[in-house]
């Protein structure tokens, strides 16, 4: 497979780029593995990579029902940030940010991580107070955060609506300079390539139908490509966690909802940060191809259909034009939907389960992409040692029983309102 370097890129360029090889082996299932990770999305692949890299466990399979990059890892809006309020979330997402900062080097694959900064606009004095509260928490945790006044925001992003007729005038903003975006496909490919290079079997087009049991214990999976044994099985199938968990006899506090994303036709460079609208739910960044990539709210009712409805499209576009009137005549190129595991507190679950041999990583709500490296790191720790990683102590399933929920939005236990 070879490794990437300036020299190898030059050599392949001279050869007309005709001699690149596959980046991961097309593996067939072996009879058994030490660990099976179900789900070849970002989190599953990262888990497999860190199992090999950090724990030396290389007899690992990642089982994916579709193809690598075809699920939520290729359906998100690629935003990476660590501006969380609550203990448990703040430290976890900052750990993830630090992993992002070294990820291209760690994987020897350019994930195009671009720390262009994220600006969230504030539209009232009260919201400025709330953002100061957030910035203080971030800074106390060693995370960069700045509060900007209206004039500073205007200097950075002059194309927002600063007119006298703005429906919600901009009072200021909170800026995290280290936030940004990454190329989501490259994250999937990079982790797959690096994991495969460590000996992990990545098995695509192989759907898990059921679990193999010995007594109470789960000892493998039944798949469309036969039975595969494993000492430990980790689920990383966010979106479909309920479907697979039910086969293992596990009831969960999760609902599946569809979240849409949108991209406009390509335009000249305009948005050079990630910008989020503080008065409604809309956020935008510009891809390297020039398209404005943006998103908003859930469709608002349980769904496993990977497509959204036009009502939300209209709502998000209304919010977009309220903040950025200059994009009102851009045409939408594509929009698509991904299925989210929504938990009652909108925080993820990385947890031991009551079923021996089964470990759970799911419930990612909106936050899955930015969490990919830390999620894989901590879930690999759990699969390797059987212990909860200190950074994910707050993400146990039992938090809903004990009342220690991590509800950033304070929306209460209604998945569709989170």
């Amino acid at each position: 497979m070879g490794s990437f370097s300036a020299f190898s890129l030059l050599r392949h360029a001279i050869g007309g780029n005709r001699h690149w090889q596959r980046h991961w082996r097309a593996a067939s299932p072996k009879p058994s593995y030490d660990v099976i990770v179900v789900g070849g999305g970002g989190h599953g692949l990262a888990t497999a990579f860190y199992l090999a890299e950090n724990h030396g466990i290389r007899n690992v399979a990642v089982i994916e029902k579709g193809y690598i990059g075809g699920g939520n890892v290729g359906r998100n809006t690629t935003v990476i940030r660590s501006n969380y309020l609550l203990d448990g979330n703040t430290q976890f997402y900052e750990f993830s940010m630090k992993l992002w900062e070294g990820l291209s080097a760690a994987l020897n694959f350019n994930v195009m991580f671009s720390q262009r900064g994220q600006i969230v606009t504030a539209h009232s004095a009260d919201q400025m107070d709330a953002f100061s509260h957030r910035a203080n928490i971030m800074r106390l945790n060693g995370i960069d955060a700045e509060i900007l006044g209206r004039d500073e925001v205007r200097r950075l992003v002059p194309y927002l609506d600063f007119s006298d007729t703005a429906r919600f005038p901009i009072h200021g903003a909170i800026l995290q300079g280290r936030a940004g975006t990454a190329r989501h496909d490259a994250v999937a490919w990079g982790y797959a390539r690096a994991a495969s290079g460590h000996g992990v079997d990545i098995i695509e087009n192989c759907e898990v139908i059921d679990f193999l049991r010995k007594g109470d214990r789960i000892v493998g999976v039944e798949t469309t490509r036969g039975r595969i044994g494993a000492e430990r099985v980790g689920l990383a199938v966010a979106g479909h966690t309920s479907v697979l968990s039910r086969k293992a006899g596990l009831e969960l506090p999760i609902e599946s909802h569809v979240l849409q994303a949108f991209v406009t036709e390509p335009v000249k460079p305009l948005v050079d940060h990630v910008v989020a609208y503080g008065a409604d739910h809309f956020y935008v960044s510009q891809s390297d191809k020039g398209g404005l990539v943006f998103g908003g709210n859930l469709d608002g009712y349980n769904s496993y259909a990977q497509r959204g409805n036009a009502g939300v499209l209209q709502e998000v576009c209304e919010a977009a034009v309220a903040l950025m009137p200059n994009i009102s005549r851009l045409r939408l190129l594509r929009h698509w939907g991904g299925i989210m595991d929504m938990t009652p507190d909108a925080s993820p679950i990385i947890s031991l389960t009551p079923v021996p041999g089964l470990y759970l990583n799911g419930g990612w709500c909106y936050g899955g992409f930015k969490a990919t490296p830390a999620s894989g790191w901590c879930f690999a720790h759990m699969l390797a040692t059987g212990e909860v990683h200190p950074l994910t102590r707050g993400y146990g399933l039992d938090r809903f029983r004990t009342g220690h929920t991590l509800d950033e939005a304070g929306a209460g236990p209604f998945a569709w309102l989170q």
Binding site: L252, P253, G311
Partner: protein, 88 residues
């Protein structure tokens, strides 16, 4: 856009309605001290990929609460009833 056939108002777009979640969840009796029953009521959801019974309230119409049976994979609506007529 879903089109919900309200038994009172006829076929209406779903944005006239407010979604209110899984209608198969049973609320424990007010004096039920069983922790598990309350935990399940508040948090645990079957979350089926397929037929799902769910509450919708026609807030921009007759304001009736409805139980809609809908396929979460295809959005096909199989039945709509007044919530009051439907034993939970």
């Amino acid at each position: 856009m879903l089109r919900i056939h309200c038994p009172c108002c006829g076929p209406r777009d779903h944005d006239e309605f407010r979604y209110a979640g899984d209608a198969s969840v049973v609320r424990p009796a007010h004096d039920d001290p069983d922790f598990e029953a309350w935990y399940r009521y508040v948090y645990v959801r079957a979350n089926p990929k397929g037929l799902h019974r769910e509450y919708w309230q026609h807030v921009h119409g007759c304001r009736q609460w409805l139980v809609v049976e809908r396929d979460t994979a295809t959005h096909t609506i199989h039945s709509v009833h007044f919530a009051g007529q439907q034993a939970s």
